[in-house]
Symmetry: C2
Subunit: 555 residues, 2 copies
């Protein structure tokens, strides 16, 4: 049997667009003589549709769209993810098996994830049906995403029921290490059941999530027979030697005889390295956020620092250098060196660049506030004001020209609150909000190396990071060295670890308390932050639901 896995890039809510795309890929698969093509979980609606699922008309329209797709698929069996409706408003995360213009059978997902970024129990009821089908006498099982991540999940019964092939349709978001873990899981399922496994995963960005594709076909011995690209649409076609077998209770799928086919060599895409993978993830997430929200151009405040340099580079790869605008907004506190670096970066990237000095605006604000601020010393209010003026300027460009503002804050800043609400946090998408500062440097090194020259000027790497909101300021006036800080943040934020393991990491109890204090008291800033690509085990977003009002003192 020839199977095809169509890792497509859907858009949440775009029912007709998604369905057209399903049909296009079905046709591509059919042209390669595939007998069956599988699409990702909920590909009709896009994933995750979140509270759109609470709208009865959305469910109705998704069913209509599925029916329409079914009527138009011919010459191939298609497994398509959608939302099924039971009695009394009950919903199922479902897969339809479609053949020759008809929906032959439906499977309802049994394992509903309700942790991390997932809220599936908010919407869905767990299914109970077997998901066992028989195509021209060849039995196969269909299940959905989390179903194979559960020990002794439905796949066990499907294999026991006679399935020699298990098709798992997924929408499994990327995070560091996930691909390896996923391969382990899929391989285990193949080995434990003795079945071939076809695993198809969604591709593309949806708000803070990025789906990495990397679909695969695995043999019963655990060998990867075919592997799709990462972060790109792909169609994998692979022959699996399956036998006819009589099984009880399978849903019968009849189609025209599956004849002899020309040989194919299944594709095994080379896997990306860690840094390539992360870079690809933020490019993909940014591109899809920008484009699926109807923007063409993006605007970035260029400070001459490492963070905005990375964001500008990513933006060029995401939407094209012709669609990226950099704006430098210096005050009296910005050194010539950083201003020059901002300009040089823009030149190296070959992007549109403006310099809008904000010293005059800053000065007039100070005058306006003088009667009430009297002679109080320069402080946080004045520092934040500069950052907020910059935010306003970028938003003015956004409003005037329809450009999306990309923010440039990294995860170390978001965690410790080393950022200004309504200032540098102003914007539609926060490209590197889940990237710790030490990793920002790694990504910039990777970028330059990959480009074959220092597009991001070397001096930016060498200069100690500074917000330049007063004279002679450096980040390390307020924060511990990033190499120390980032390790503590991995423990406290990404692993919810306690005091002891943090002290074990840095041997400095006072520092641990300080960092914990900074993270805890910055929750209100994060709550009003724009979304950004999740790449870690725990990102500030849907998998970080800490209360704002919170007097818990762990240490």
């Amino acid at each position: 049997m020839r199977i095809a896995l169509a890792q497509i890039n859907t858009t949440v809510g775009d029912l007709s667009g998604n369905c057209d795309w399903i049909l296009a890929f079905s046709e591509r698969a059919r042209q390669q003589d595939a007998d069956i093509v599988a699409f990702p979980e909920m590909c009709v609606t896009g994933y995750p549709p979140e509270d759109l699922l609470l709208k009865s008309h959305f469910i109705f329209n998704n069913l209509k769209a599925l029916k329409d797709v079914a009527g138009r698929v011919h010459g191939i069996v298609a497994v398509v993810g959608f939302v099924d409706a039971g009695k009394n408003g009950v919903l199922y995360n479902a897969a339809a098996v479609i053949c020759d213009g008809k929906i032959i059978g439906i499977y309802h997902k049994q394992a509903l994830p309700n942790y991390s970024v997932f809220d599936e129990k908010r919407y869905f009821t767990a299914g109970k049906n077997a998901g066992l089908f028989s195509l021209q006498g060849i039995p196969f099982g269909v299940n959905i995403c989390e179903d194979i991540w559960t020990p002794d999940g439905v796949f066990t019964q499907q294999a026991k029921g006679g399935a020699g092939l298990i098709l798992n349709i997924s929408s499994s978001p990327y995070e560091v290490g996930k691909r390896q873990y996923r391969e382990k899981i899929v391989t285990q399922v193949a080995r434990s059941t003795g079945a071939y496994v076809g695993y198809v995963n969604l591709v593309g960005g949806q708000d803070e999530l990025v789906f990495d594709g990397a679909s695969m076909v695995v043999s019963p011995s655990g060998k990867i027979l075919a592997a799709g690209a990462q972060f790109k649409e792909d169609l994998i076609v692979c022959d699996v030697p399956l036998k006819k077998k009589r099984v009880a209770k399978a849903i019968i799928v009849k189609t025209k005889a599956m004849g002899k086919k020309a040989d194919i060599k299944p594709q095994i895409s080379k896997r990306l390295s860690l840094v390539e993978e992360i870079y690809a993830a933020i490019v993909c997430g940014t591109r899809d956020y920008v484009q699926k929200n109807g923007f063409r151009k993006v605007v970035i405040g260029l400070s001459g620092g490492i963070d905005s340099s990375l964001v500008a580079a990513v933006a060029c790869d995401a939407v094209g250098r012709g669609n990226v605008i950099g704006i430098s907004m210096p005050t009296r506190y910005n050194a010539e060196e950083t201003k020059n670096d901002a300009r040089l970066l823009a030149k190296n990237l070959n992007i549109e660049f403006y310099e809008v000095p904000i010293e005059g605006v800053f000065e007039v604000y100070l005058q306006a506030l003088k009667p009430e601020f009297k002679n109080l010393p320069f402080g946080l209010a004045e520092e934040n004001l500069q950052s907020r003026i910059r935010g306003n300027i970028l938003m003015a460009f956004s409003n005037k020209f329809g450009w999306l503002v990309l923010t440039t804050g990294n995860k170390s800043e978001m965690a410790t609150g080393y950022c200004t609400l309504y200032g540098d946090m102003s914007g539609g998408y926060a490209v590197i909000k889940d990237i710790l500062k030490t990793r920002v440097y790694d990504l910039c090194e990777f970028y330059n190396k990959n480009e074959g020259r220092d597009i991001i000027p070397r001096s930016i790497f060498k200069r100690p990071p500074s917000a330049e909101l007063r004279y002679n300021q450096t980040d390390q006036d307020s924060l511990p060295p990033y190499s120390v800080l980032d390790k503590l943040l991995e423990l406290y934020v990404e692993a919810h670890e306690d005091h002891k393991s943090m002290v074990a990491s840095c041997k400095d109890e006072k520092l641990v308390k300080r960092v914990v204090g900074l993270v805890d008291k910055s929750e209100y800033k994060r709550r009003q932050a724009p979304p950004g690509v999740k790449i870690s085990k725990r990102a500030f977003g849907k998998d970080w639901r800490l209360p704002l009002t919170n007097q818990y003192k762990a240490f």
Copy 2:
């Protein structure tokens, strides 16, 4: 048996503070000769602790705190809500029955809400134990919140098992109509089981939620024997005639003999009217957000319009007029009349008031942007700029003096996006974000009437609402009349209704499309908005999880 219901105001995370308060109310109940005192759901941790529950040290410290409370409660039986830990990291939403320094038994909540603002399946496993206890031979059942909202819930078995009293400990957030519905549910439980029901509910604000208390004791015939205050801490004490009865499998609670007591007359607090209730809810939510987050003073931008007038009035009742600062920030577009009304309101409320004209700042921004904006016509960019300058000024005051900024946007604006991100949306708490504009007027009328004079100047009610960001602007240039709009928003936002019912409401299909379009495309603004008090069935917050990237077109 004399029962006491302690509707206390806890703080999320403040384990030791909450426990001290539990002990204080236990002592008050003991002094009134109560045999048993019940506290709200998860009163040890505060509710809802959200992802604090993912931190193992938080669970550990909550158990330690409970044990400490248990050791200090004497002379009365106490039912205390906490988080219990089972094997392998399993957690239960739990109630401990405490007597004479010991935890005698524990009940685990069975019905875990995972809809609307609730995510309990993210954290908890459903319990299985019976929750049946016997105090000196008198059997009673203990269960938690949602347990009685489920038909044939655990209360049925408890009553069948012999319980003549059912104690339900809740943390049930307020929304319009909820108290009446809750009384219906509790009354039904009493009638269907033939048992007395003691229902205790949390009081106070936690981020966007407000808990209204309104605890009650209901007789088997459905009569309310005692009723606690709304939105205030209270201790209800009430005698219920229960008989000793031998029951199988109850956990035995032994204490010193329950002797004769002086008669008491249980309190039945008068219920608030709808408008009183909503006003009390936003005062309570605002007060607790401000104070539990360590602020004393709040600052509000006063425009001379109805929204900021209401917010200023609420703020005075929430934190005291001495802690409220109003700031007027006029430009060329602000009429003398509105400027005067802002000043008059501040005078009537007797609050600190500053006028910081922003015309000069606005002018300098326009100059700074001129090279790039060239001669493009005045538009949204320039309008938003004024709003953002005001946001910056308020935040500068906040940074300088440690005042919390309260925002003044209402739900009609939040829904349609008639508000400026990083402008009038800047602030820590959005007092009226869940109040539709038409209701804003009702609340202001109520406020003046209640105060016995027009604290909010009559001219503010009469003037057509305007953002005053250009000459001769009114809200109705951009929006349909609020009386029409608000009805459509109730259908589309609060009820997720479809097209048909909206057209049935306003008889104008084009208008429906326009309003739906405005709501859909403003999601990115709401995502970055501060939290505010939920008072409706569906507020923009935890019970509104729409994707940002969303191409669904319903109509």
